[in-house]
Symmetry: C2
Subunit: 404 residues, 2 copies
Amino acid sequence: MNTVKGGVTAAKGFTANGIHCGIRKNRTKRDLSLIYSEVRASAASVYTTNLVKGAPLTVTKKNISDGYARAIICNSGNANTCNANGIEIARGMCQVLGDRLGISEKDVVVASTGVIGQPLDITPIKNGIDELVAGLSRDGSEAAAEGIMTTDTVKKEIAVEFEVGGVTCTIGGIAKGSGMIHPNMATMLVFITTDAAITPEMLGKALSGDIKNTFNMVSVDGDTSTNDMVTVLANGVAGNKLIDSEGEDFDAFMKALNSVTVALCRMIAGDGEGATKLLECRVDGALDEENAKTVAKSVICSSLTKAAMFGADANWGRVLCAIGYSGAKVSVDKVDVSFKSSAGQVDVCRNGSGIEFSEDLAKKVLLEKEIEIIITLGDGDGRATAWGCDLTYDYVKINGDYRT
Amino acid sequence: MNTVKGGVTAAKGFTANGIHCGIRKNRTKRDLSLIYSEVRASAASVYTTNLVKGAPLTVTKKNISDGYARAIICNSGNANTCNANGIEIARGMCQVLGDRLGISEKDVVVASTGVIGQPLDITPIKNGIDELVAGLSRDGSEAAAEGIMTTDTVKKEIAVEFEVGGVTCTIGGIAKGSGMIHPNMATMLVFITTDAAITPEMLGKALSGDIKNTFNMVSVDGDTSTNDMVTVLANGVAGNKLIDSEGEDFDAFMKALNSVTVALCRMIAGDGEGATKLLECRVDGALDEENAKTVAKSVICSSLTKAAMFGADANWGRVLCAIGYSGAKVSVDKVDVSFKSSAGQVDVCRNGSGIEFSEDLAKKVLLEKEIEIIITLGDGDGRATAWGCDLTYDYVKINGDYRT
């Protein structure tokens, strides 16, 4: 499996574009993106667990209930959520795009991200649709990735090549996600495309299996958004034998999907609002996988741990504290904790008690940009990884006055 | 019921003191406190639900298992948690104090607050014990309140007078709590004293009944501490008829206790680390009380809502979002939200959708120091209140480098 360029248009038969249509006042920021498949594609999607759901999610769920789609339209700057006319506007976006592309509006996936509870005016989208479609290109991934960004500071793209029964396939994706990000589910927008041939059923199975260990294990701020959605389109243009059951081909697909989703998880966590560091919490020795996940997520979500990481302070007591209140079954007197980065590893806690360590080394380790918090429990074989980021002044700054 | 001066020594028969003994390097900060009852008192205590528990909690639990105590000793600057010799040190504190006071070490409640995982040296406590006891005074509440502070910026004291069967009783308390504060349970230290006569059983019942709606409904940062504890001593010096069952007298006691605990909750939330505002979330119309509590706590804990309040930004979509992911059963299309303060009230959401409101008024309302977030659901009669604070630059600053 090798990483390749091209993001969401790396797979054959996909084009994309992103433009500024006028939803945002800032004319230099793209606010409308389109991903298009030259043929109808198997489609699978997972959605936020928040009871308050963005109108686009409801429309998308209905549209792809037959298992297929050809296009994804997504605006930033407005979430189209908690608006009385939300469904109407989301449907309108599908219709406008379907008419222009000459496809059924039922083959359109629609998404929105931005402020909640402000009516979304469809006019700029209508006015921009010609430009959006005219600009569709095999090089359009970057523009599309930019068009879905909100407080994101970097574009998030990845693609890999893999083999299915001797045929080279490609899978890639773009993501946005910076704040309002918390497990169940990833609280972000992720659009993945692949030219592998796979049935909607198996695609759905692959996606829902994968997110448990990827997007559901990412947290920036504990707030599960109303608009999260991960969608995969598989158009079969690569020409592999259709994956319609479990087996070697399905496993190869799962593996490729996972490499894309893990890469996007790390990008999203590392670009958390105001973040200066990516935190990866790896738990081993838990009673079982569920307990490992609970511990890893609790540590990643602890404001005190996150703030300590920002300050490069090896305050491991906060890690212990977060393990203790996680709700997981843990023998607290068998907990080991280490911090690790490219600068080295420092062991700070053994059997639930502090041990002597070099504060100088700890500082060096924690001043790096990617920190691993390694927790070894003494309860069993369960393991899990969660991703998060530090809590910084800028998180507060960004969120203290996001709307006005 | 009137508020009176004197805090934890307002009730008859109690004295207190707080000194600097040397646990903290800063010689101007008191770090050791003592509360003393001239007679043995009924004692009740509730403790953190964190699996990682401070050693003092284990020792206290054992000491008051007979229902009685006479003294409370508490240090700040070190939590005596996750230390191999923690129990030994906590016991040592009881012994040193018991010897000096001429009481059984089993009649001592011991507590510690501060950094986790650094061995607590008992030497400064031993050396300070004469000064600590010699300074016991009916005016010592303030010194004791100061001695238990960590990152607290204000001393937290309250006392009220109430009547039990025609006899005037007094109940008062001190508290510390600023960071690592989250429901289950209050994640703070609270010491309450009363001269009312009440059995240990009824005192325990009163306390465990009360905290469900008070300390368990406070959150500063979602981190449940390892060392939280609320202890009440009732020495009976007021001379009322012993409260040994439910009834009018017990109700009067519960009411007085509640007025003390609610006042302390508000002080703790308002003095949350870095906080500039007290947030009070009042939920009405929920399916039942549990659902109301779940909603109120979720809103109070939302980092995005907290940051918006810091910025005086009426971003009510974040409130809706936090209601939606709370896990409570809520009809999201029947949710009303208003913000209220001494500057007025602004209604921002009706039936789950945004309504027109004056941004000027909203700003004025949210610039105040005490903000009510009023949520009216359309599901039933359940109601609850939770307290929290805004999320600010200073929270990050305080916690980015607390230990070093």
